[in-house]
Structure formats: C-alpha cells, structure tokens
Symmetry: C2
Subunit: 204 residues, 2 copies
Amino acid sequence: MVKTEKIDSTQERILAAAKRVFLEQGMAGARMQDIADKAGINKALLHYYFRNKDKLFETIFKEVSSQFFPKITDVIESDMPLFGKIERFCSEYIDMLQKNSFMPMFVLSEVHKQPQRFKERFWKNMGPVLARFVGEIEVEMKKNKIKKMSAGQLFLNMVSLCIFPFIAKPLWMVSSGMDEARFKQFMEERKKEVPKFIIESIKN
Amino acid sequence: MVKTEKIDSTQERILAAAKRVFLEQGMAGARMQDIADKAGINKALLHYYFRNKDKLFETIFKEVSSQFFPKITDVIESDMPLFGKIERFCSEYIDMLQKNSFMPMFVLSEVHKQPQRFKERFWKNMGPVLARFVGEIEVEMKKNKIKKMSAGQLFLNMVSLCIFPFIAKPLWMVSSGMDEARFKQFMEERKKEVPKFIIESIKN
DNA sequence: GTCTATAACTCGATAGAC
DNA sequence: GTCTATCGAGTTATAGAC
C-alpha cells in the first residue's frame, strides 16, 4: 500500500458528530462545543477543519438532503406501470426514512427558516423529476385508468402518508405507548399499508 | 364600573409577542430582546412578568398545544355516523391549521426535543378521546361497515393527510411555485379532498 | 410596574505554542 | 494537525432608581 487511508479520520469524525448534533438540535440549537466533544477533539480544531458553524452546517445539510431525495428518482424514471411505481415509491421512501428518521424534521425545519436557500441549492435537480411523475399521474387520469382528482393533491397525499409518521414519531410513541421495536414494526407494516390505501382510493 | 380591565395589558402583549416569536423561531432561536421589542417594553420588564425564558416558553407551549388538539374532541364525542365524523374531523382540523399554520412545526419540533415533558403535561386529556375514536373505527370494521385494516394505521393516515401539508408548506410553496393565495385555495380544496380520499379507500 | 445600567454567562471564533 | 488560553459579541438575567 502506497497510501495509508486513515479510516477514522478527524474530518470524518467531525462530520459524523456534526450530523448527529445538527439532526437532533437543528442549526440554532447545536453547539460547536458539543460537536467537538462528540468528535473527541476541541473547538479550535473544529474551526480549523470548517472555518465556521455556517460552513459546517451547510456541508451537513447538503449531505443529508442529497440523500433524502434522489433514490426516488430511480423509481419515477423506471418504466413500471403507475400502480407499481406508487408501491415502490412509498415503500422505498419509508424504508429510507426508517434508517434516517431524524431527516424529515431536520430538513423541514431548516427549509422552514430558509426557504429561498433551499430552492436555489437543492430543488433544481429534484423538481423536474417529481413534476414528470405528477404529469404521468394526470395522463392516467385522462385515460380513465384511475379516478379523476387533482394530481397535485394526490401527490401531496402520497408524501404526507410516507413522511409524516417520522416527523410525529416521538409524539406517536408517547401517545400510543409504542416502544422503538413496536414502532419499527408498525412502520414495516406501513410499507404495504400506505400504497394499498392509496391505490384502493384511486382505482376504478 | 368598579374595576377597570386594562384590555391590552402588558402581560397580554408579552404573551402575544412571545407567541409570535416562539412560533417562528422555536425555543432556541427566540430572543428575549425580540419579544420585548414586539411587546413594546424592555427586557427587564419581561423578566419581571416571567422570571426567565424557560417559564415564558412553558406558558406559550401550554397555550398553543392546548389549542392544538381539543377542538377535535367535540367532533369525536358527537353522535354522527363514522363517515360524517371523518369528514368533520378533517375539515375542522385543516381549518384550524389554516389559521395557525406555524403550530404543527412548533409543537412537533419541541415534542421532538422534550417528548417526556409533553407526555406528562399535555397528553392526559387528549389521549382517551382519541383512543375512543380509534375504538369506534374498529367496531365499524367488525360490523363490516368499512374495509378491515389496522385502525391505528387508518388514524395515522388521517392526521398525516391533514397536518403534513402545513409542516411542508414552505417546501411545497417553493417547489410548486404557489403563492400564499394559491396555497390557501389549495388547502381549501383539501377540506373536501382529504375526507373523500379516505372514505373512497375504506368504504365497502 | 417600568425603566436604565450592568453583571453574569454562553458561545463562536482566533492567537499562538507545540 | 492539534492543543491551551482567551477574546469579544450577543444574550439572559438582576440591581436599583423612579
């Protein structure tokens, strides 16, 4: 080996720590000290790697939100029939969120504070793909393959059913008395239940 | 008049200002100075009325989250048939959120940070009511009035469809290019669309 | 009750040695 | 690259006059 890759480099530990802290606390709530502690270094070194908090946040937000959307692209771009796409769209989405259940809260609460920034940096790729999906739904309606309704409303229904449970996760767990394992199982069932629920509603 | 009620008392102005600021910024992002300014007083006086930021926050959170759930109680406790309840549950809920679109983000992001606190202080009243509603749904399923599925999943679907659009409002507006007026109209349509969508899916 | 002034503190950021 | 020490801005909170 000519080059030694330090597998657990300082930079990587910083990013991992920052991700945890930002996802849990949001930009305003996160503390550089806390990130430094979790990365096992001190604040000065943190600033050495990422000039300031804003740049660090930016990096994490980019990473997180670029994971968050694009897997979906594959499904939409595929040549499956619509019901198949809906099934896979929902189950893939829920699956991804199960592995990253902090993401929706994080992304949404930051978009909520900086909508313009989000639009400029993250929407340009994803927008057209989703627009195409909505267009495809409209075509199926015109052909009377599915019930006629607003395609925008239907799309919003779809993402609501997938994403909301993860945003409401702490509330739901506390309210229903579910523990982590039970919640996981409940979401597992949802991968089938959600598309079934949707298709049941729109099929002719 | 024996007693003069100062209709726009300092305390009330503080609470109104604090509500605005906390709803927009969350606990961590809100500044006492900002609240004081919006209330037209200074920080010292703010501390005179509410010993510290935490106590002030607590008060607002209590007020906001106690508005957030209970209107729903009336609908659930009424003696309408199930489909009627679903219709009114959704339309009332969406209506309430239209007037307070910051609430869901606020409540959820704080519950997310302090789940236990929420459980202890705000769940005791609402829990049983919602449990009764879910129970009623189960009964209708047993009687084969509606399709059989998990009543918990159905209930979660219902609240997801109502609440999520308001959480995603900034994201949705940026993505779809809707302005405030168009979004309002879109939500107006949703008051009919959501219950229709649900009932279409569960009816026999 | 309300104000001015300021203490006390938190936190992001930098200087400078190693 | 990494550390210790410290600065300085911004905030919460209090003292004390009116």
